[in-house]
Symmetry: C2
Subunit: 206 residues, 2 copies
């Protein structure tokens, strides 16, 4: 048991530090973006030294990719935990609301839309891509179901609807509302959902 507990103890400590690093990176990526975030920033924010940081992740790219993977896993977990009795549209609204709340707490870096270089870096990771693919297929199914049920417009292709949906999670309008409009989290979420589903012309009474 001595060896067992020793190993698991170390493992625990290691994992804890790793989570701290991922948390720090998530925060920094969300606030400064990939290019402006330095490994010294990460080490400082996580409370460890830079060489220790490199014991966990062997490059800045790997670290950022790992953060995005953890985020996707969060989204997938949220979807799986969702009440199966919900309507397709309610499920989409629920996930978007979740993402917006994560973001408003400073925890949603949107690397894939930031630059071609970063996008290329991410697509080189099989683990990342496979999660994106899984999430995309899941959501495509939900969108199709919503179209069938008349909850979403059927005159636009499913992928176009999905691209628009993804983009709402990193919509700069959120920043503007927070920064210049002084709206509360609740208001921002409500406004974003209203805009996403019913657009600027409105009219939807769901």
């Amino acid at each position: 048991m001595s060896i067992f507990s020793k190993l698991s103890f170390k493992d625990q400590a290691f994992k804890l530090r790793e989570q701290a690093v991922l948390d720090a990176t998530t925060k920094l990526l969300a606030s400064k973006g990939f290019d402006l975030m330095t490994m010294d920033d990460v080490a400082g924010e996580a409370g460890i030294s830079k060489p220790s940081l490199y014991k966990h992740f062997k490059s800045k790219e790997e670290l950022a990719t790992e953060v995005m993977i953890r985020l996707l896993d969060g989204a997938l977990a949220f979807l799986e935990a969702q009440d199966g009795a919900l309507s397709a549209r309610a499920r989409l609204a629920g996930l978007l609301e979740w993402a917006l709340r994560v973001r408003l707490e400073g925890g949603l870096p949107f690397l894939p839309s930031s630059s071609p270089q970063v996008r290329e870096m991410l697509t080189k990771s099989l683990r990342y891509v496979s999660r994106v693919y899984k999430l995309h297929k899941l959501l495509a199914g939900i969108v199709d179901a919503a179209k069938q049920a008349g909850e979403l417009r059927a005159d636009l292709p499913t992928d176009v609807l999905l691209y628009a949906y993804y983009s709402r999670t990193c919509d700069p309008a959120v920043d503007y509302m927070q920064l210049y409009g002084r709206y509360s989290t609740e208001q921002i979420v409500a406004h974003m959902l209203a805009m996403t589903f019913d657009g600027m012309a409105g009219s939807g009474q769901h």
Copy 2:
């Protein structure tokens, strides 16, 4: 007249080179973003040397700011040239379509939404800020008119509608449609307008 023509001739050549630099910068900012664009890139793309580049703009920040100012002037000019008989909603749709087309041709960098640092840099320029303010006030007037006419929903604040409107010009959905969906410029513009005004739920018959 000799002195006169000499001066104006130089001035002309100087302005021409300056436009070339601004064009090159616009293109590079749109493709690589501010952080990854180097002054060597700009000089190379514009076909002049780096020291010559610094004869025109005394820093990278000033150069980028100048590009954004030129862009805002373009938007303001478009608005002023618009047919005054158009409905408020048609004017908004027209400007958004113009911006999307500019962007799809590779000429719309969206610095203000890229990072807090870049945003701060821009807001330090009075010439930039005054144009943003002017455009914002103009568009707020149009949005209010559209609300009055029942063309836009009145249950959301004007600034929220405007933030959403601005955000559509730099919506990553455009990239996705172009990159993964292989849609044509016309289709992308049509889809973006549909999504902007009527949302994912649709229903608007305008």
